[in-house]
Structure formats: C-alpha cells, structure tokens
Amino acid sequence: MKRILSAILAMAMILSMVACGSTTETEETKTESTTTTETTETTETEEESKEPEKEVPTVLRLSDTADIDTLDPMHSMLGSSGAILSLIYENLIEYAYWYDANGNTVSGYKGVLAEDWAFSDDYLTVTFNLKKGVLFQNGSEMKASDVVFSFQKAMESPSKQARMENIVSTEATDDYTVVVTLSAVTPAFLDNMCRVPIINEAYYNEVGAEEFGKAPMGTGPYKFVEHKEMQGTTVEAYEDYRDGVAAIKTVTWDIMADTASAQMAFEAGSFDKFSIALENVDTVEASGQWNLIQTDNYAPVAMYVNNSHDILGNVKVRQAIHYALNKDNMVTLAQDGKGSIADSFFHPELMTNTTYVDEPYTYNVEKAKELLADAGYANGEGLPTLKLITITKWEKHALCVQQDLAELGINVEIQTLEASTFLNDITVGNYDLAVNMAALSNLVYPWRMLYHSDFLGKTNFGQVNDPAIDELFNKLGATMSDDEQKAIIKELVNYINVNVNYVPLTYTTSVTAYHPDLVINGHPRSASAYDLSWAK
C-alpha cells in the first residue's frame, strides 16, 4: 500500500511541476505544429531572441463566442457577423476617436466614403459628396447610385429601418453626389449614417440576395475568403484599397463558444488579440506577456425598474432603492475594481453634449429608509418579494442589488435568464427589476427608445410613460443646435435623475490583450485590424 501511495504522490508531483512551470521553461519542448503558431509565439527564450532575423507575422488571429448569422450587412444582427462585416464594408461616415496634439482623446464624425457633407439651413436636406476613385473589391467604382441602392435596401430591412428614420428620399444628382431629404429634423441622422453600409448594386443584382449573404463584397480594406460553419471566418487584405493595402494580410476568427476554454486557448497563444474577462485581468497582467488596453464604456450597467408596477410606480420607492445601492461596492465585487460608478444614464464624458447630474445619489441607507417610510413601506413592510431578472453576464451586479435592498427590508428574488427570454420579458414588462447593460448610441436622442411612450411595448423596457420626458425628447429631436441640445440634455439628465425611471449602476471597462508585437496605429477605441501591424 505504501508503494502505491508513493507512486501516486510521485505522479502528482510530476504533474504539478509540469503545470506550474513557466512558459519560458516549457518553450524548449514545444513542437512546431503550424506555421501560424510558429510565427506568433508570445515569449522567447534568450537564445531565440538573439536570432538575427525573425519572420514578421502576417496573420491576425481573433476569436468570437458565436458563429455568424449572415454576411449580408443589411440583415446581420449578431456582433460576430458585425466584426467581420466592418472590415469588408464601409459606411458614408463613422464616429471616430483620435488624439489631439496634446495626446488627449477627441472624437467626432469623419468621412469614410463621403468626402464631406452639408445640412441645409432647415436641416431637412443633407448633401453627401462622395470620394472619387473608391473601388469595390471586384474592381468597379463606387458611384452615387450604389449609395441610393444601399439606402433602399436598408429601408427594406427590418433590422436597419430604424436607422433610416425620417428619410423620405435619396437621390443621386450625379455620380458623386447624394442628396437625402428628411421629413423632420433628425438629430440622430449622422449617427444613423454610421450604421448603413454601402453595397454594390450591380453585384447584388448579379448574385442575388441569398448568395450576397454568403459572399460579401464591399469597399473595405479586407475581402472575404471563407466561412466554415461553427469553425470560423477568414478575410484577407484587399490589395487595391484606396488608403493602401493593410499591413496585416489575413485576419481569422475562430469560434470559441465556451468562455473558459477560450481563455485557455488565449493563454496557449492561439489568439493575438483577445477580450479579457475582468476577473482574469490581474492574472493576464501578472504574466507580463501581453499589452493590456483598457477602454471605458459609455453605456452603463443599469437596473431597469418597471415603472408600471403598482409599488415601483411610486417615485419615492424608486428613489429609496437608488439611495440604498452601494455602487462602489458593486464596482469592487462585480467588476473586480475595474470601471467606475454611474451617476447618470448618459455618460457625462463619453457621450455627446452630455453633462454631470446636479445632485447624484450617494449611498445612504438612512435616507433610503426615510423615503421608503414616506412611501408607506417602513422597513419594507407591505412590500412583496420583487422579481429581478438578469442574464449571466450581470449576475454579480444583481447579487449586489439583492444584498443592498435586503438592508432596506426589500426581498429580491433573482432569476437569471437566457438572453432571448430576458429580452422578451423586459419588452412586455414581465419583471419588477432587471439588470442589464443599456447600449444604444453615444448620442442622447436615440435613447428615447428606452424612455419615450411611443416605444411602449417595443424598446421602452422600463414601461416609462411620462409626458414630461416625452416632451423633452421631442424638443431634443427638433434641434440641431449644439447649445440648444446641451440645455435640453441638462434638463433631461436632471429630470430623469430625480425620477429614477432607470437606475444607472456602474460603467464597465473593456480590457483587450494585444500580442506585444502588435502595433496599434491610431486610437485603440477606433482601431480595426486595418490599423494594426506587426513590429518588425
């Protein structure tokens, strides 16, 4: 028996030594399985680093958690498709970030396929002057008629229709000029134009709608090579791209449905750029093998409150709930200390024309108890157990809410749902509280979809029906003046802060690990594969 025990202990020791050994040590024993792996190793032994010439990689390996739905840019809805399509197709304009002379981040709209654009005095007509000599990947030149065709297709697409808001006509006045006529002043117009890809009319008509969704062809810096169902997608640099061929010649996406194994594959060196879960950031940072870039998200993790609920319809109850939430604790526990607390639904720094709230809610349980007592529910008496729904990603935030509200005497039952079920429940108002990330646009106006009574039963998930809010959004939608917008947004931000129709909880941060040899040319927030290159 002793011999057996000794043997088992010896095996365990060998295994633990293998498992705990550093990558550098194990490097010597690795096999060279594929060229791709060979060219993108994360670490080098000293001997290897002394080698005079190292082959510069040409491939960028990425991962995604889901397969694509379609590669028709007018109908795709999944982020996995969007990531690929964003390299193949381009829009007229984009919202970009860059550094000014002092190294500060600035942002704004930039022309992509449009050279420039101009609004008429009444803001009901927009004229786009297109860049000349822009080639589709089949060699044909992009003309104004392609833009008109793309707009027509977007109008026909249920998932793009919302982006074509108020557009009554699109006309090509010559090969390089497009005039868009609007039925009303549309503050979100430019934002919408960042999401309408320009497609080739002749190619679409030649291959038909079905084939078009399988073999995309646009004006972007990369052209489609292949997609293997549930395996991944490959694109390669378009050699005649107008701004020069991309430094990275091939981009691949592998599908990793399981996040734990995706993280392992990343640690094994299978990907060159990888979005790290916040709980793994410290480990990856400690390994010292990656460049980590952190970007704050403009969209808050928020608690949706069902405003049509008998009890939650009472503003004092909603305020009490807001005061009872310890958001600092939430950042620490739910986000591993990364990110910041959210005082406003509209990020005061990362969204356009926004402002800080005048009187933010600070964690104050006594104040919360007072408000709850004023509402007739002292110590939570008379309150039923509230149903809080969420999805796995925001479960930790939900647990923090549950714990904080328990201090007020409010019992919360958490239900973690599949994304589609969750979406259905919040759409029809089948919940009391819900925790989710609200992400719409870095402009305030599109957020009316969450607040305006026109969107009840659609995207007004909080079931908010407040004429004052409707009025403020209507006013915001009727002006293009920055000053007027700022004034209205200030009023709106403070009004909804007092009324707590939704409770902003925290701002998250995204951490992306880059291979140390990857060079980012430009601002990381806007950088696509085209803006990356391998160090020589």
Binding site: K30, S33, M230, S261, A268, S270, N430
Partner: protein
C-alpha cells in the same frame, strides 16, 4: 422473429412523436417571439407581426404542431434556422459527421482500453494491479468531464504546448477531446468487464476447465470471456448514444463544429427549429440504437428467439 422486429420498429414511431411533442411544447411555452428573434429588438412591430404570420407563429398551438409534423413526414422539412435561414436538415448533416466520428472513436477507444484492463483486473483480482487501477478508475469517474477537459487543455495546450487547445484543423486537435471522453468512459467498461469476468470465472465450467489442466490464458480468454460478452456488447452499444450526449458537452469546450455546439448555439439564440430538429435527430439515433440492440439480443439470445418462434407456432 420478423414479427418481433416489425413490432419493435413500429414502437419507434410513437416514441419519436412523443419526444417531438414534448420538446415542441417546451419550446413554445418558453418566452420568445420568433419574429422578434429573427428581426431583432429594433425591428418594427408590424414587420415582426408580418414575419410571424409568414412563419405561421400566429396560429393555434395544435395547428402549428400538426403543420410541423406533416412537414417532416411529407417533405422531410424540419424548418429553417432562425439564425442562418438555411434548412436545419442540411445543417445537421454537415455537423453530424464530427459528432459521429468523436462518439465512434470514443466508444472504440474506451472498449479497447477498458475491456483488457477489466479482464486483467478480474484475472488478478485483489492484487496490486487490481487495486491501483481501481483507485485510478475512481478518480477518473469522479472528475466532471468539463473539468477534466479544461485540465487537459491547461497542461497539454497552455503549459506544454504540445497540442492545440481547440478546433478541428489538424488531427492533433482531436486528441484532447478523445482522451477526455475515452478515459472516464473506459472506467465503466473496465468495471463491467471485471464484474462479468469474475462471474464467469466462478462458474463451474471454468473450474472444470482448470481441473482439466487447460492453461490459464485459454481458460480466461476462451472459456470465461466468451460468456461475458453479452453484457459487454449491450454496454458498448448503449454507451454509443451516451457518447453522443457526452460529445456534445466537449464540442462546446473544444469548439468542435458538431451537433453539440450546434444545439448549444441554437438554445442560446432561441433558434427553435435548430433545437427541435437536433433533439429529434438525437432521439431517433437513440431509438434506433436501442432497436438494433434488441434485434441483436433476439438473434443472439436463444430464450428470446424461442419465445417468438413459439408465438409464431
């Protein structure tokens, strides 16, 4: 005998119908509007209603179910995926070979590994080999498959970098998933082989063979093993359907584009045709494997054979 086979085959039909009804009902009662899922949260309600009408999602439940079953029986139409718009049958046929390959290799591997060790353990019962292997078997049986899978990835892909951590690009990609399936499942095969062999070894005819002076190897492999094979064959065939299920979990962990990953993505996106058709497909495989097993039994086991022969008379 033919009557028995026909009767067993006919039993598959109500079983599959029941599975279809249960899964269909479960998917219908869970929240989720097909039109909204396909068109997205920002599509207009009119567009969603129109699509629901085209899909027949606005019809009464029984009518929808009947249409679905009729579509399967008359046109072999299991519907189109909400995600891709392609026929689900075509998508299943592309993915099934991966799952089948993994399940087949796993069953073969676990049998080739588990059976000889089980026989050896029975021959050397209560000796060092028997006890050591038992301890290892308990360890493998106790570790959940996904934990085992992740541990293997960590050691062999992350630390040693000997094997790819995921995918199906090279033959090496299949090593870790197969090891994950084969090692734990060979434990049950091993235990069963040991138990059945021990039972056989204790039989009088084995004692008789030994008393005749027949060499021990011949006693074990010819006399005892032959009579232990029926429960082992049952276990092997039964485990095939189990392996299909096991492969599904591993496909997600190792990103193998088989039915497992397909159904997981279908569930995540509430892609009802995908989830439903894959479940029915797997249920059908399970039914036909059981049917095959029963037929083999009937052919091999003289008791069953004689019962039906008597009935025929």
């Amino acid at each position: 005998m033919l009557k028995y086979i026909i009767r067993r085959t006919l039993l598959v039909i109500p079983t599959l119908l029941a599975v279809t009804f249960i899964v269909y009902t479960l998917l219908i009662v869970t929240p989720g509007d097909p039109g909204r899922i396909i068109l997205g949260e920002f599509a207009s309600q009119e567009a969603v209603d129109q699509l629901n009408h085209e899909l027949g999602a606005d019809k009464p439940f029984i009518q929808r179910f009947a249409d679905y079953v009729v579509g399967i029986l008359t046109r072999f139409d299991f519907g189109n995926s909400y995600r891709t718009g392609n026929a689900v049958v075509d998508e299943i046929m592309v993915r099934f070979p991966y799952t089948l390959f993994i399940a087949f290799c796993a069953v073969t591997g676990s049998t080739l590994l588990g059976m000889p060790i089980g026989i050896l353990m029975a021959a050397k019962r209560n000796m060092l080999v028997d006890r050591s292997v038992n301890i290892l078997a308990m360890i493998f049986a106790a570790i959940p498959s996904f934990v085992f899978a992740l541990s293997l990835i960590y050691v062999f892909a992350v630390q040693l970098k000997w094997l790819p951590p995921f995918g199906v690009k090279t033959w090496q990609s299949f090593i870790l998933p197969l090891v994950t399936l084969i090692l734990p499942s060979s434990v049950s095969r091993m235990r069963l082989a040991r138990t059945t062999m021990l039972e056989s070894i204790r039989q009088e005819y084995v004692t008789m063979a030994r008393s005749k002076g027949i060499p021990e190897n011949r006693v074990i492999f010819v006399h005892a093993l032959k009579n232990s094979l029926i429960p082992l064959i049952t276990s092997i065939l039964n485990s095939f359907s189990g392996m299909l299920g096991g492969a599904m979990i591993l496909e997600t962990v190792f990103s193998i584009p088989g039915l497992g990953l397909y159904i997981v993505q279908g569930i995540k996106l509430k892609d009802m045709p995908t989830t439903l058709a894959t479940t029915i497909f797997l249920a059908a495989i399970f039914c036909f494997t059981s049917l095959l097993l029963d037929i083999i039994y009937a052919l091999v086991d003289p008791r069953i054979k004689s019962r039906y022969t008597k009935e025929a008379r």
